[in-house]
């Protein structure tokens, strides 16, 4: 953001424009480009998900063959066609729904996902704002989404939607705790909440061969990474933690009554949230934009490549989870969080503290 404003001030024909207007212009430009990123991410991820699920189940997934290639070669245009269909679909609002909340809910959920992108560094320079409280901001903002889910469930006036919303409230709030606690281990090691500081702290080698990423730093952060990632998967309501939308029990959970564009916003938010969890795991534990071989391929372009590569790999792992594991029952979900993740996270924090004291 600062970089963009600085570039604007250097351009001569923009010098007459007041800085406040320039700021608004820069913010709009960034917001639009981020929205494009979220939309393209969703389109690509939906396609990838359908293909990966198909291959894992020995199917073909979306395909186009023969005259006219129905959905493009290998079905590449399938998600584009889906998006167009969602855009032109009728917008149905149930007559007994709470109209205002029903309309508001998908946007709150989407904003909760979208606003987090402000804090995510894509490489050394592409970062909208590097807050002092970057990690805290991301954790706080990604919790906004649960309000959208509860509003959607309540506003739909539908028992399935309400069940889904209540489940998601319980689930997201429980899993926030091990998520934040395992994140604390990293912050204890770095001593800063700033995103770029966390990434720069992971430069160099450890144990002689491994890159100095926090996942390899010590056994406690190794466990913390998995707790963080699995809690993150639970946070974004993906299988095996998809109780809020459990399609075999609750039709479609909190978005049962939604269709067309509003439903598309739920989907955009889900895939944006997936990216956020993958990106956060990559930044905190896998070195963000750092190259796996320190000193080589360290330029900003390579930085973007490494960061996106790590994030996309973790998104793939999430899809892999989804098509492998069956859904947890509510009591199993709670047991996993409170009986296993939470105590282990506390031990992790203690362990990291002692490790840090012992080594430094």
């Amino acid at each position: 953001m600062e970089l963009l404003l600085q570039k604007f001030s250097e351009v001569s024909f923009l010098s007459g424009i007041p800085s406040a207007l320039l700021f608004v212009f820069a913010a709009t430009l960034i917001a639009v480009s981020l929205f494009m990123f979220v939309a393209v991410n969703a389109i690509v991820a939906v396609y990838a998900e359908r293909k990966i699920s198909a291959f894992m189940q020995d199917r073909l997934g979306p395909m186009g063959q023969g005259v006219g290639l129905h959905a493009g070669k290998w079905g590449l245009l399938q998600t584009v066609a889906d998006a167009i269909k969602l855009l032109i679909k009728e917008d149905i609002i149930p007559s007994l729904a709470d109209r205002k909340l029903f309309i508001l809910a998908p946007f709150i959920l989407f904003i909760g996902a979208f606003i987090v992108f402000v804090g995510i560094p894509f490489n050394q320079h592409i970062l909208v704002a590097d807050f002092n409280i970057g990690v805290f901001y991301i954790i706080a903002m990604s919790s906004i989404g649960v309000i959208g889910i509860i509003l959607a469930g309540y506003g739909s006036n539908n028992k399935w939607a309400l069940y889904g919303a209540m489940r998601s409230a319980a689930q997201i709030i429980s899993y926030e705790i091990p998520l934040a606690l395992s994140l604390l281990t990293v912050i204890m090691l770095v001593g800063s909440l700033k995103m770029q500081d966390i990434i720069i702290a992971q430069h160099g080698l450890i144990w002689g061969i491994l890159p100095n990423w926090f996942i390899f730093n010590n056994p406690f952060t190794f466990i913390a990474f998995f707790i963080f990632f699995i809690s993150g998967v639970a946070e974004v309501n993906r299988t095996p933690f998809d109780l809020p939308e459990a399609e075999s029990e609750l039709v479609a959970g909190f978005h049962t009554e939604y269709s067309g564009m509003r439903w598309a916003f739920f989907f955009l938010a889900e895939y944006a949230n997936m990216f956020i969890v993958a990106a956060m795991s990559a930044i905190l534990f896998l070195g963000g934009w750092q190259s796996p071989i320190p000193g080589y391929m360290d330029s900003p372009a390579w930085g973007l490549f490494w960061f996106m590569g790590k994030a996309i790999f973790l998104i793939f792992v999430m899809m892999w989870f989804r098509w492998t594991f069956p859904r947890l029952r509510t009591d199993q979900l709670m047991q996993m969080c409170w009986k296993y993740f939470l105590p282990i996270s506390f031990i992790n924090i203690l362990g990291v503290g002692l490790w840090d004291l012992w080594l430094n």
Binding site: I52, F55, Q57, D58, R59, L60, G66, W320, W323, T324
Partner: protein, 197 residues
């Protein structure tokens, strides 16, 4: 306490087994796919052993086919059909002459001279009940079920998958569409009866 840790260990190992299975399937994706992209690819028709030669197996019920060059327009099949799915219209022409522009050949392969030009020979396969009754009365053996003993004349077809239901009406008449009018006789004028007179 031991149970607590054994639970963790068991869940991790079993989850990894599951992940391995799906990963193997993903890696072998090119080989093991069972989907056939239907209109372009088909399963091969299984060769079945019915105890005797396929050629003598004469009750195969697949799809009706007409060798229109041999049809003399006698309407016996129309009368035999219990569901009235065969529709024939004929026009009288000079006996035994070829009318090339209407694809009409005056003599059948059995040597019978044709005196009727077929302007319409439609079989609606969506109505057909596969009773095979139309096949027996045909004097020229020109209507038959595809495949089986007739597979030398017409390859078997049992799929009937069409985009439109009207495509299931098989039109066998060879008279070009724009020339049907030409060969259709003018309708007879109704004789008015003057009641008052």
């Amino acid at each position: 306490m031991i149970r607590y840790f054994s639970n963790i260990w068991q869940s991790i190992t079993t989850l990894l087994i599951g992940l391995r299975i799906t990963l193997v399937h993903l890696a072998k994706a090119r080989k093991g796919i069972v989907t056939l992209q239907y209109p372009e690819e088909r399963w091969p028709r299984p060769e079945r052993n019915i105890g005797f030669s396929h050629d003598s197996y004469n009750v195969i019920r697949s799809r009706l086919h007409v060798d229109i060059d041999d049809c003399i327009g006698c309407l016996k099949c129309v009368r035999a059909c219990p569901v009235d799915c065969i529709h024939i219209k004929t026009v009288k022409v000079e006996k035994g002459t070829d009318i090339l522009e209407a694809n009409h050949i005056g003599i059948t392969s059995n040597g019978t001279q044709k005196r009727l030009l077929l302007t319409r020979f439609d079989i609606d396969m969506s109505e057909c009940c596969y009773c095979n009754l139309c096949v027996y009365p045909c004097p020229e053996d020109c209507i038959f079920m595809t495949g089986g003993p007739n597979s030398s004349k017409q390859e078997i077809d049992y799929e009937f998958s069409e985009y439109n239901r009207s495509d299931l009406i098989y039109r066998f008449a060879k008279v070009p569409k724009d020339q049907v009018e030409k060969y259709t006789p003018p309708p007879k004028e109704k004789v008015k009866i003057d009641v008052a007179g």
